[in-house]
């Protein structure tokens, strides 16, 4: 059968249908004409001939229909007709269509967006070869008690020696780096020092040049540097000639050997340079600066590797009694990059958005049921007029799919917009955000779920009612048939579940909201207005400033110039900043304190600050004095402790005048007299409860890389350019980084919880909206069905208030059941939020109460509208109704 002829016919039938129809009509009329002429020739008169011809033809329209049935594209044409009919039907029921499409769009859009984000962050494969086999080895022990903590080179060597589970172990540490020499003005970037096998362990190949070769971490290897693609483009104009060039890294000449592709970002998201870490044979334990990274051997799971690493941990503790309660947490590469808090938060949000989808689906089911009830009569009528059941099914199916496609399209737009917004704005400062893109799989899944719901709840009841007694249905007009009563009960159940689910989400959102409010209320321990504090990180660049003899005068000059900038009130140096830029931490000893043998004090923050630091940030002095200019290099060693420090380590004793010293390995016997007690400041994040710290004067504890904290008389943000110019004019090698106000730092530090709170709040709001639409639809339908009854009641003298009470009572009853169930659900589910909450319990009664009453209010308002409409029913009209 010639296909080309078929295609030509299809095109003709579909696109020039009027002409095809006209031709058919012409042809049949001509036939009729001929037939009549033939009859006339046998002697009939003209009218009789025409009548006989018509009879022989057997009905013009019937013949046409027979011809249409065999035309190519007949199915398609019927489908298009169904589609047109569906569009017309949906347009006629504007409110229904809008509600259903909105529910679908919100459900599909929110879910597609959230799952795309979750997939991008949690599951999309990292751009390294077989990244799933790479693990990061961290160390946690008392007294250095930090999650995902670091190990020292001795520990690394012991692990490397005894390790059986991993291959290609390497070591790395993060550090700030000044990049100078070739390529323009020096700049400060985030860098990492890594052992020779680092890049091959991670399975990443350089874009240009080479990675480190085996043995390039041995002593006496020259200083080498690998650049990130971003740094290479920014600073070296993406020139391949940079390989082999000498640049300055922290003032020391280093040879560039290669460039890493932009997708490779490890150990930190902002790492832009890697230098070779030279492993000198360690003479002592510490410093604990390093983490290990290695590839699991084939067939070894992460859990097995962890078990084996635990065994090595025991060995470490046996060899060094200083380590207490030591563990070596082994993290997947992704978990190491994500940090501890993000993954559970995203999973909770994904669960929450799943509930939103559930509500959307319930809503669509609800609407479809309502529509099925309303169409009972139509279906019965069409069946009785001889429409085939398959034809009706096809038509209803077309309508359901049409609805789903419209909802899906709107949802797609919504999801696309939401993802673009999240990516552009990155409200939670989330890692991997640039690997988030619209996930087709998620979209298709959502579309499928909602379409099936539409079909299930639209088609099945419609057919059921059609199958039922046609006569009864036609007579009753769908008012009180058994099927529609059952459907009413189903709808009530659906609405109750909507209320319950949205209450659960509301409680969750409420808890996060209150937790976030707590977080915003908590102070970092400093009381100067945060928008008037400007901070930046200075690296002097030139290596001569590594010594305090040159470094102290350098910083004196920095401070002098900073104070001369108009608008600057105070300037001070520090090596740590609230709320979360921790500096050093170490153990300490208190003179005369009796500790069990081998039991040191815990490691806590030791902060090096210049004289004006406390005043600039507004950290209150509780006792004694602040540091002054007189606490110099050569004067008696002094220290200041925080209130928390004094309370914890010197309870019931006067802290002032006591002497402490740093007790970590490598410190001498430099006892420092405590000259002041200051308020607690948070250096480990706002959510960390107590953070005892002791302070050392800059002149007695010099380090070359320092933060500058500046208190200004007005908004601080405008001063940074002037400050930068002033400071960099001291020495061309000076670099500045991380310039920003304290206000920005505070905002950034709570960006993840803000993101979580906003999203869950949004989900809860969507859920509430959908639930409100659901209950409104139910009650409105209920009122419409009872117009007759209400009319009778009012005719018999019922007051409007009675009618309102009756209708609202109906809604309140459902709301009450839904709220009880929802509170139960919230009680069971909010414990998942536990790690995300700050300063509030997972079963906070006030939140539960507020969410429940808020929901009740919304439900009552949604019920009130149809209730008021019911009172406007005129008894006369109502009794005549139908």
């Amino acid at each position: 059968m010639p296909l080309s002829s078929r295609i030509a016919s299809l095109r003709r039938n579909l696109f020039t249908q009027p002409r095809v129809e006209r031709e058919l009509d012409d042809e049949l009329r001509a036939y009729l004409d001929q037939l009549a002429a033939e009859k006339r020739a046998t002697g009939m008169d003209s009218a009789e001939a025409m009548r006989a011809a018509r009879i022989e033809l057997g009905g013009l329209e019937q013949v046409k229909e027979e011809v249409r049935q065999v035309r190519t594209g007949r199915m398609l044409e019927e489908f298009l007709r169904d589609l047109r009919y569906g569009v017309r039907a949906l347009r006629k029921n504007g409110a229904f269509t809008a509600a259903a499409v909105l529910a679908l769009a919100l459900g599909i859009g929110a879910n597609t967006a959230m799952f795309s984000v979750a997939y991008g962050i949690l599951f999309r494969p990292l751009p390294y070869a077989d990244a799933g086999r790479v693990a990061v080895v961290t160390m946690r022990f008392f007294p250095r008690d930090f999650a995902f903590g670091t190990l020292c080179i001795r520990d690394y060597l012991l692990w490397k020696q005894n390790n059986r589970a991993f291959e290609a172990p390497s070591l790395f540490t993060n550090r700030r780096m000044d990049i100078g020499g070739a390529g323009g003005v020096p700049e400060q970037v985030q860098g990492a020092s890594v052992t020779a096998g680092f890049f091959s362990t991670l399975g990443v190949r350089p874009l240009v040049g080479r990675a480190f070769r085996a043995g390039e971490d041995k002593p006496a290897t020259g200083a080498l540097a690998v650049l990130s693609e971003s740094l290479w483009r920014r600073r070296f104009g993406a020139s391949a000639a940079v390989v082999g060039q000498s640049i300055l890294v922290n003032g020391a000449p280093s040879t560039v050997i290669g460039v890493m592709p932009g997708a490779f970002r490890f150990p930190r998201r902002d790492t832009e340079a890697w230098t070779n870490l030279v492993l000198n044979p360690p003479t002592r334990y510490g410093p604990w600066f390093y983490r290990g990274v290695a590839r699991l051997k084939p067939g070894v799971t992460l859990a097995q590797a962890q078990a084996e690493t635990n065994r090595i941990g025991l060995l470490m503790m046996r060899q060094n009694p200083y380590y207490k309660r030591l563990t070596l947490p082994v993290l997947s590469l992704r978990d190491a990059l994500l940090g501890p808090a993000l993954k559970p938060a995203i999973l909770v949000l994904a669960g929450a958005v799943g509930l939103v989808l559930l509500i959307a689906v319930v809503n669509v089911a609800n609407l479809m049921l309502a529509r099925a009830t309303a169409r009972e009569r139509e279906m019965a009528l069409r069946l009785s007029l001889g429409a085939g059941r398959p034809r009706l099914v096809r038509q209803l199916l077309t309508e359901s799919v049409l609805l789903a496609v419209m909802g899906g399209a709107a949802g797609l737009v919504l999801a696309w917009g939401a993802i673009a917004l999240v990516r552009a704005w990155n409200p939670g400062n989330l890692p991997f955000i640039d690997s988030v893109r619209l996930d087709g799989g998620a979209l298709v899944f959502m579309l499928l779920v909602s379409t099936l719901t539409g079909i299930l709840f639209g088609l099945v009841p419609a057919l059921e009612s059609a199958r039922a007694d046609l006569n009864a249905t036609l007579k009753e007009g769908g008012r009180g048939s058994a099927a529609s009563q059952a459907r009413g009960r189903t709808r009530a159940v659906l609405v109750v579940s909507e209320i319950a689910i949205s209450l659960t989400l509301l409680v969750g959102a409420g808890l996060l909201l209150r937790s976030f409010a707590n977080l915003e209320r908590v102070t970092g321990g400093f009381f100067a207005p945060p928008q008037r504090i400007l901070t930046l990180l200075i690296s002097p660049g030139n290596r001569k400033y590594n010594e305090d003899r040159a470094g102290l005068p350098f910083y004196d000059e920095v401070l002098r110039r900073a104070r001369n900038v108009p608008g600057v009130e105070m300037a001070a140096v520090t090596d740590a900043l609230p709320p979360d830029r921790q500096g050093d931490a170490d153990t300490f000893a208190i003179e005369g304190q009796n500790l069990a043998p081998g039991e040191p004090n815990p490691i806590i923050s030791d902060v090096t600050v210049g004289p004006d630091f406390f005043r600039a940030l507004g950290i209150p002095l509780l006792k004694g004095r602040y540091f002054t200019e007189h606490d110099s290099r050569d004067s008696a060693p002094v220290a200041i402790v925080s209130e928390g420090f004094a309370r914890r380590f010197m309870p019931n004793r006067e802290a002032l005048g006591k002497r402490i010293k740093q007790s970590g390995p490598g410190y001498g016997d430099k006892w420092m007299e405590i000259v002041g007690v200051v308020g607690n400041v948070k250096y480990l994040g706002l959510t960390v409860d107590t953070d005892p710290a002791y302070y050392l004067p800059f002149a007695q504890s010099y380090g070359p890389m320092m933060f500058l904290a500046i208190r200004t008389s007005a908004d601080a943000a405008g001063l940074s350019a002037t400050l930068r110019r002033e400071i960099q004019s001291i020495d061309p090698g000076v670099t500045l980084a991380q310039t920003g106000t304290m206000e920005q730092a505070l905002t950034l530090s709570v960006s993840e919880p803000r993101f979580d709170t906003m999203l869950l709040g949004l989900f809860a709001a969507i859920a509430l909206l959908l639930a409100a639409v659901g209950i409104y639809g139910l009650i409105a339908g209920w009122v419409a069905q009872r117009t007759h009854e209400i009319g009778v009641r009012m005719a018999l003298g019922a007051a409007r208030a009675d009618v309102v009470r009756m209708v609202i009572g109906q809604g309140a009853q459902l709301a009450a059941i839904g709220i009880v169930l929802g509170l139960g659900g919230a009680f069971a589910l909010t414990r998942l939020l536990k790690t995300m909450l700050f300063g509030i319990g997972v079963t906070d009664a006030a939140t539960f109460l507020a969410a429940a009453s808020g929901l009740l209010l919304v439900v009552l308002v949604a019920t009130l509208i149809p209730a008021l409409r019911a009172t406007r029913v005129s008894p006369v009209v109502a009794l005549r109704y139908e």
């Binding site: 002829s5 042809e27 001509a30 036939y31 001929q34």
Partner: protein, 108 residues
Amino acid sequence: MPNTNLLQGTLDLLILKALALTGLHGLGISRRIAQITNGTFQVKPGSLFPALHRMEEAGWLSSSWGDSENNRRARFYRLTAAGRRQLQTETRQWETIALAMASALEAS
């Protein structure tokens, strides 16, 4: 006229055969079929036209407007090359079936 419902598939073959010599319009085809079957088959318009349109869409027939013997406008159908091939194929098939049926009915 005896009850002679056209066998499924027979109509196509009759139409092809009727058009084998010359192009005809609808009524002509109907009359020609009656003639060559000695009046056994009277094709009704309700069967004829769907078949003509189906066969035209299949590419076996082509059609055009023309003038009938008594100078009336009519739609004329004629065989295409594909139609002639189809006529041969269907003729062969029919002969096979007819032979088989005849021998089946003659068997004792």
